[in-house]
């Protein structure tokens, strides 16, 4: 619960609006596919182009996704909810109104448990509602915006793709909490399999409503900050915006209700538009659609079919495998829990599996510019690798190298070790000779050990490891060196 702001006597108040693009096969109100990429305007029809006379029909799959997310967040499913029209003119919106939900969303209420380095807090969920996405505009010209564009092109492939909007209560008090909230919500969405939830590609989008106040005083005017396309940039944008507002208020200024744009390169927010009055979207019930009234039996069926959710999985991992909360958080954040569980099921000691995953796998993925979860690593491969370490065949140090080859498709861990001759040398007679050579070569270091400086043995162990290209069993080497130096 600490931010830069609290040191100044101010408290940040943050609420998030997250849009999740659903991975349904077809669009929200028509039969067009929802695939990504390809030529512009190929996945369109009279309905999603807003051609005169066309009519929307609700996609049951999208309703199902909305109900499942609502239930996973602990919310209530409305026995009857409605679609409204949100009226405003914009060229990438084919009908010049967006079909959305207004006063009666499909799901209301719920809570998200959010854990940061400062502990666990609960963030209330206001609502989950369904709506359709807009098309995408491309504005030619120097500005890159519609104002001043030479001409504009519109691609309606995205128009009508189903979206869920998840609105939080203003319960978030720091950038770190906001990041944790978004990470956790994303994990739930992924666990439900309702979206690929990629912030970078826009299949998950997050706007932050940020204000500051002194505790005990009313909330300040808020700024809605847009254009954050990673968890990291969400944190940066909020931190910047909180500092900006605190500095403004401290300097005697007033925060004005407005929409601000986060510039990732500049690391700053700037005014997009000032909301002098609330925008009037002239919401009214869409007369082309009937109420959404999911049968209670269907809702119960969906509730019963919910997967184990991330929070429950984490608790189970801590309890069952004695992992630390940090380790579990790292695994979860990298999407590596399934691999971990497979490896343990295949006989891997949990501590070895978690160490390999949280250290080596994540580092390797980062070197290659991959998402760790996208590496083609199976639990069976991981178990085989930890097995080789446990039975002394492979040194911990070389395990990462083997891992690299396995991921590059050069065989199973055992095959890679055999192929490259990476078996650990634990044979005492072979290593004893090398130890003797090293002691002779590094007489100064050897003398320090003899004089009682046991830490100095490290340099000698390192020399033996170098001499064996890392294959020597460091425990055996250490023992051999100490025997020799104690004896002399």
């Amino acid at each position: 619960m600490t931010t830069a702001a609290t040191a100044t006597g101010f408290q940040a108040v943050i609420g998030l609006e997250v849009h999740v693009e659903l991975a349904t096969r077809t669009k929200m109100f028509c039969g067009c596919r929802t695939d990504f990429g390809g030529d512009p305007n190929v996945r369109t029809c009279p309905v999603c182009l807003g051609q005169p006379g066309s009519l929307p029909v609700v996609n049951r799959g999208a309703v199902e996704s909305a109900i499942r997310l609502g239930l996973a967040l602990g919310g209530e499913v409305a026995p009857s909810s409605q679609f409204h029209r949100k009226n405003y003119f914009y060229p990438d919106m084919p009908k010049n109104y967006q079909i959305s939900q207004y006063d009666v969303p499909i799901c209301s209420g719920g809570v998200l448990e959010v854990t940061t380095s400062h502990g666990t807090t609960l963030v209330g969920i206001t609502r989950v509602h369904m709506e359709e996405d807009t098309g995408k505009s491309l504005h030619a010209g120097t500005s890159g915006r519609i104002q001043g564009a030479e001409y504009s092109l519109v691609d309606y492939n995205r128009a009508g793709i189903p979206l869920l909007e998840v609105v939080s209560e203003p319960d978030i008090r720091s950038a770190e909490e906001a990041q944790a909230y978004l990470t956790e919500l994303r994990a739930i969405v992924l666990a439900l399999g309702i979206s690929d939830a990629k912030l970078e590609e826009g299949s998950m989008r997050c706007d932050a409503n940020v204000s500051v106040h002194r505790p005990g005083e009313p909330f300040g005017a808020r700024a809605e900050v847009k254009n954050m396309n990673s968890v990291r940039s969400l944190g940066r944008a909020i931190a910047y915006e909180v500092d900006r507002q605190v500095a403004l208020v401290q300097a005697g200024g007033t925060v004005v209700l407005q929409t601000r744009h986060w510039d990732e390169d500049r690391g700053a927010t700037s005014t997009l538009r000032v909301k002098e009055t609330l925008e009037d979207y002239r919401y009214f019930p869409d007369p082309d659609l009937v109420a959404v009234e999911p049968e209670p039996a269907w809702i119960e069926e969906l509730r019963a079919g919910l997967p184990e959710l991330p929070a429950a999985i984490r608790r189970r991992l801590v309890d069952a495998h004695r992992l630390s909360a940090e380790q579990v958080a790292t695994l979860a954040g990298a999407g590596l829990i399934p691999v971990f569980e497979e490896a343990v099921a295949a006989g891997s000691p949990p501590v070895d599996a978690v160490n390999l995953l949280t250290n080596d796998v994540i580092a390797l993925a980062s070197e290659r510019g991959f998402d760790p979860a996208d590496l083609a690593l199976t639990g069976a491969q991981l178990a085989e690798l930890t097995g080789l370490v446990t039975d002394g065949t492979l040194s911990t140090k070389l395990a990462r190298e083997v891992l690299g080859d396995v991921l590059a498709g050069r065989g199973t861990p055992r095959e890679v070790v055999a192929e490259r001759g990476l078996e650990q040398i634990s044979d005492t007679s072979e290593l004893a000779a090398i130890c003797d050579e090293v002691i002779a070569a590094q007489a100064d270091a050897a003398q320090k050990v003899r004089d009682g400086n046991r830490k100095a043995v490290g340099a000698l162990v390192g020399a033996v490891m170098r001499a064996t290209q890392g294959r020597a069993n460091p425990r055996v080497v250490n023992q051999l060196l100490m025997e020799r130096l104690d004896r002399c």
Binding site: P46, G50, P52, G53, P56, Y97, P287
Partner: protein
């Protein structure tokens, strides 16, 4: 024979074609010739699709010759209101903004017409976006009333109605939001049916007010209208407001008469407001129904008086949103501007006529924050009350009756300067529209200036069959002659 084909009913033409006495092509040609000969005066069509109509007719003849299946109304010509999408054939809604618009798909109604092998002769004129009661709001030209070419045919389906009344086609399809089939049918001496809301697909019906719009038949007889309704009604999964079960059979009991039916005369409709000529015909019709064995009772719809006000908030509110899409970006008219916003504004300024703009402004206002509760929400509450009034009335009555329109057809230009007087034309039509009920008009005689008078019958939800049955009985008793006559009428039915 070709000369008098245009005087035949839809069912007669169907039978002539079915029995091989005449080809579908001959039927189509006769009607297209009548259009060519009379439409300079009548101005019923925006677009005549001669080639497509003849090609369809020839295809019907070919299939008949090859003993392949043909539809239920094979070879019967029809005038289609120009608010229903026809693939590749321009669909204007009587508006400059869609003057060149060619839809990429067919409306559900158009598919059903094709399934029935009804031959569409062309796209009929209408008030712009179906907003109007005289057909004078068309951006192109006003349509004339075949009974008096200096009078309006009513609206907004004035073109489809004038074509049928002028014997250019035996059938028409119109759309009715607040009387746009019934009122012009009344003013031109025709049968016009607004089916139960949801009975006919709205897919491809270019929306004016989505919660009210409904396509329906126009014909010179109840039987023809019932057959056309049977052809176009039915569930459509592409329209979420379509009723997912078929309409009860409207043909089976059509000739069963009204003996034993309880018919409610709506007291509020019979109070002041209608002309003497209309009143006389409406009262005579009620007596005729009594004479046919119906039990006549007076019923009250206490909130019907608020219907017109509620309608003129709900319909423009929906329209203001429905018409937002006409912005010059994707299709239709585009008037260039310095910015996208300026282009959109210039396009809409040039593309919409004054009545459409007026309704967009009324609707935008009614939906605005701060006004929504007082206007749109209040109008919806009135709508609920009116629906309850009807439900209560139908506890004691099988159908309700009253006038369709307060006056006979009025001269062109008489009401164009007075929008409220024009809106008052819809006063008897909108209550059933707001309640989603089936309602229809049939001609029952002549009123002032020798112009036709319509009689309205309303029925409970999905009881279109009962409504048509009562209309059929009254029609037979009245024996109305649909041939326009009078000093300024369009010349005879034959070419």
């Amino acid at each position: 024979m070709a000369d008098e084909l245009t005087t035949r009913s839809a069912l007669q033409l169907r039978d002539l074609v079915a029995h091989g006495e005449v080809s579908a092509e001959e039927v189509a040609r006769a009607h297209l010739e009548r259009v060519a000969a009379t439409d300079d005066q009548l101005k019923a069509f925006v677009t005549v699709t001669d080639d497509a109509a003849l090609a369809h007719a020839r295809d019907i003849d070919r299939r008949r010759a090859a003993e392949e299946p043909v539809g239920a109304l094979a070879g019967v010509p029809l005038a289609l209101k120009d608010v229903l999408c026809t693939k590749g054939v321009r669909t204007t809604c009587g508006s400059r903004i869609l003057q060149t618009y060619r839809p990429p798909y067919d409306a559900g109604v158009v598919e059903r017409l094709r399934d029935a092998d009804v031959v569409v002769l062309g796209k009929a004129n209408c008030d712009e976006f179906a907003m109007g009661s005289s057909c004078e709001n068309s951006a192109f030209f006003p349509t004339r009333n075949p009974w008096d070419l200096d009078r309006v045919p009513g609206g907004s389906s004035g073109g489809s109605v004038a074509a049928v009344a002028g014997f250019q086609a035996p059938l028409g399809v119109g759309t009715d939001t607040g009387g746009s089939i019934r009122q012009p049918a009344a003013l031109c001496g025709l049968v016009g049916v607004k089916p139960t809301y949801g009975a006919v697909s709205r897919y491809g019906l270019i929306a004016f007010a989505s919660s009210l719009d409904q396509a329906g038949p126009i014909a010179r007889s109840v039987t023809d209208a019932a057959h056309l309704l049977a052809a176009i009604a039915g569930p459509d999964p592409r329209d979420s407001t379509s009723i997912p079960k078929p309409l009860p059979d409207v043909l089976a009991g059509l000739d069963d008469g009204v003996s034993g039916l309880r018919i409610g005369v709506v007291a509020e409709f019979m109070a002041e407001g209608m002309s003497d000529g209309v009143r006389a015909m409406v009262e005579a019709s009620v007596e005729r129904l009594a004479g046919l064995g119906a039990e006549i009772v007076e019923v009250s719809l206490p909130h019907a008086g608020y219907g017109l006000a509620a309608y003129y908030l709900i319909a423009p509110s929906e329209a203001s949103s429905n018409l937002s899409r006409y912005d010059g970006v994707r299709y239709g008219l585009r008037v260039d501007g310095a910015t996208t916003e300026a282009m959109m504004a210039a396009t809409r300024e040039a593309g919409f006529g004054s009545e459409v703009k007026r309704r967009i402004m009324i609707g935008t206002y009614a939906l605005s924050a701060g006004y929504y509760d007082a206007y749109y929400a209040q109008a919806q509450r009135v709508r609920t009350l009116i629906a309850r009034d009807f439900a209560a009335a139908f506890e004691t009555c099988d159908v309700l009756v009253g006038p369709t329109s307060p006056t006979v057809a009025f001269p062109l230009g008489e009401l164009t300067a007075d929008p409220l007087a024009m809106y008052a034309n819809d006063v008897y039509a909108v209550p059933a529209s707001l309640a989603g009920l089936p309602a229809m008009s049939l001609p029952v005689g002549l009123g002032e200036a020798g112009m036709p008078v319509g009689f309205q019958i309303m029925a409970p939800l999905l009881r279109d069959d009962l409504m048509l049955r009562a209309a059929r009985a009254l029609e037979a008793e009245v024996g109305f002659d649909a041939m326009p006559r009078g000093p300024n009428a369009l010349a005879g039915a034959a070419i």
